[in-house]
Symmetry: D2
Subunit: 303 residues, 4 copies
């Protein structure tokens, strides 16, 4: 199991979007500018090249460039967790190596999913363990059924978690029962991160140590406050804030996704910009709906 | 919306099994005996003729007999919620009328599901509202996707909940995000009950007022304690007990279902007996597994 | 396996709707009138009390009445297959017994589905074999995933089919690969009936002997012709007719279901009438769409 | 719609595996050797870099190398259809451009799927049309729900098919009803290819012009014969062969997938070799099962 001096993940992380300029190229200055704003909050760190970072739409060079620019903007006391999971085990190993060289503190490795009929427990264990064997940084499992069509069950997670270099899971599936089981069976040193703000408080209630939350890109204060109220046993306040955040969280996640998250960032004074095709920009009428939702949620960001 | 003097549902309810004798007939004395044991706990009431009551395997006469026997054994200060949902709207109305005449305090009405391709929002609203219009007792929506294949979405629940005689929902789907949304959008007078002990604490954390829990048949003390710790802000204890109950809850719900619940009751000194075909009794090796799980959970019942 | 003198099922069957009068009672004269029209075609027989017969919305007395009236109107040389499958094994046995007494030639037994988590291969085999053991008429398996959420796999069907009194399957799932496998593995005496006209020709192409087709209620001539062209190796004509029937078949099955089938019957001069709640009548605009679809398909019935 | 001189796709295509050597590198000579064997059959052409070609496990350089080697081995009178679909529209355009430069006759473009919640009809139409606009070779839609979790519905396919440079679809979903609808609604110039041998005959029966069949890698003679019997109205023979091929087809597709296909090629004297991780080689006991299945199917290849 994990050694005592394992990387401590407790806290809140935004999975940051990758900004593009008008020509569709990675907008590195915009990325730096965004990180500087987020740095003003007590976030534990960042996930770079996650689903919201459009990892699967970037080429090899762009992936490294985004990691380099992000690392330069992220202070040493905040974690940079790099999304490095590819369909191929070898490509995952290589991207993990590169991310470590650039200064990532941990690698977030999604389940391969294309050959899902073959993604048996045995195959998944071997994939994660092979990656973890060769990685010089700790590995975090990334369970993301809405994108992969694969929802890891508790027994598979427990088996994968036996590797000493696999320190936790970001679970975006929303099954808090399973999160509780994982927390129970994998032991206290295996760290569970909620994958969406929609179930942050329920996940904390069954033992999650924090969350990787798209919402934290545009509402870092509120996400941090939900966790702090929870830690302080201020239960009513935690619940009120959790429920208040549901509409805005839905809008920027399963409702309208990355295009909405980027538009919301633009509306709040950050740089969001356009998503990459095949993703399409938010339509004008949905932009208006989003604007109303943001206003109702009373979001604003430190400048 | 609900009037101020609406039925208050806060609390824990076992959905009680229907016991059968060796010939397969309803065992009325066994039913009475079981209720007397449960009456020793601070349960808010009982669900009779729910999924664990094998409603769909009973004929018309048996359904009424079970309600009568249960009501006679349940004290007036505890609620009897009767499962009255049938595929047909008319049959649901009729069974609800009969249950009210027998003394049920509320009716639990499951979504009709056979013609699921036709079960649009409009159809479901009309079904529930027609039943609620004619019912002399309050109606509780029963969302049970594991049995019906239908998982009500939040907007449908909100629309159904606008009827003044529809006072709450038992949600067995396990999506606590949705429970939070319903709680948020339907207002504080619409009461959400968790449909499984596996997510009792997470559900309470987003605003549920209690739970209808198969586990409460065999672990009433523990189910009550989870809720009490939550109410007392004893967060660590609530979580520890919630996590401790997961294996035994799984065994008697989605793991092995009604046959396991009945066997567990036998093992704990109540009357469980056999399920009705097509349900088969628990196999011998699973009985042994169950015995171990019960011992590990350290369950025992007041006598 | 089946004896040589087993009931031969080859042919086309409409699963006939149960007509209701203005008060919602079973309209027995309308039922008789409808059957007289269908009797003019070379149909092999009828399915009474199937999904289109709204079996699950009828009470015990109504079920027997429908069977009696139908049998009186169906000539002795045409088969009456009675839908007798209930959630309970005992109730299925009882309804099968009653149907046989009324003169049904075979029983169509749907998979029980409420406790779907428990509907293992073992449970399903035992259910079907218990029913077949006690039935005085042959049993046909009814696989209807769109209504039950359960899709029997080939190995389960093969195992169920080993009983000598189980002579075939009506498969409404549409997986023609599986139909081919079943036909291959269960042997030539086990008879496969397509459960929807949408895949009649493909099913015949892999060995089905006919079909139970909602479309045959309103387009018996066309359904019979597809099969006849197939038997005559008139491949192009079979395909053209099969493709031509797709829109109207979709309308009265997965598109708008029983309400549309009944409305189409009204439009073609039969007695359709209203469905039972929770099913709602077809809306006015969909009625117009349906009228166009019927006209385009050039349907008319013998009088 | 498609011009009269559009590429004619009628016929059978193996989606060829990408062979790797002992070090895991692309084995170009083995690829050439395999193609020379297949060239002895009356196949219409080949799909290179499909799902069986492990496209998603190859890096950019390897993809081009495989296309080059395959094109050199494929005679000019046989088609090379290149799998060029990536998650990103831009990368799909680029790979399609490169494939055309190498001599591919058409591009097979799979549905992007990672952001499946965003893959609306509008997004998919725009993706396919943007790719088709810029492609110098015709585009074929690739519907592969078992890998992507996305199953294109008929109306989306029809809308995508309106582009004059989109000439057909390879549909691996197995819904032959839908294939018939597409064939009916998109018109005779839009060409449907069955995506699996398991439903080749049913698909032909509703209007498909051929198939891209993993089975054609190891049983080209049988796949060709099924289609020829169909064309010759030799219905019984077609069906017998179709049914006979089901077990072996299942083994190398949804049963055990690419690893089994490669092992079967080894067993039949071609070069199969190992799949790339995360795919694992077939276990020893499954190898024995596969050997029996191949023997029972009486497969052998021309040398």
């Amino acid at each position: 199991m994990v050694s005592n001096n394992a990387l401590q993940l407790e806290g809140i992380y935004p999975p940051i979007p990758t900004p593009f300029d008008a020509k569709g190229h990675v907008a590195t200055k915009a990325l730096t500018g965004n990180v500087r704003i987020w740095n003003k909050y007590e976030l534990r760190g960042y996930v770079v090249l996650g689903s919201n970072g459009e990892l699967v739409l970037l080429n090899d060079q762009e992936r490294l460039r985004v990691l380099e620019v992000a690392r330069a903007a992220i202070p040493a006391d905040k974690l940079m967790i790099a999304g490095t999971g590819c369909q191929s085990t070898l490509q995952t190993i290589e991207l993990t190596r590169q991310a470590a060289a650039i200064g990532a503190d941990a690698a977030l490795v999604i389940t391969p999913s294309y050959y899902r009929g073959r993604m048996t427990k045995e195959v998944l264990i071997q994939h994660f363990h092979t990656v973890a064997d060769t990685a010089s940084i700790p590995v975090i499992i990334y369970n993301m059924p809405a994108c992969t069509g694969i929802d890891l069950d508790a027994t598979t997670v427990i088996a994968v978690a036996e590797h000493e270099n696999i320190i936790g899971i970001k679970d975006s599936g929303g099954n808090v029962v399973k999160m509780g089981e994982i927390r129970h069976l994998a032991g206290p040193t295996f760290q569970v991160l909620a994958g969406s703000a929609s179930f942050l408080l329920p996940a904390l209630s069954v033992g999650a140590v924090g969350g990787v939350l798209a919402l934290a890109n545009i509402a870092p204060h509120q996400c941090l406050a939900i966790r702090q109220h929870f830690l302080d046993n201020e239960w009513e306040q935690a619940r009120a804030l959790q429920i208040q955040m549901i509409p805005v969280n839905t809008a920027v996640t399963r409702g309208w996704g990355v295009p909405a998250l980027k538009t919301a960032m633009d509306m709040l004074g950050m740089y969001g910009g356009l998503p990459r095709p095949p993703l399409l920009p938010l339509s004008e009428d949905k932009k208006e709906d989003l604007r109303c939702i943001l206003q109702e949620a009373e979001l604003s960001l430190l400048r």
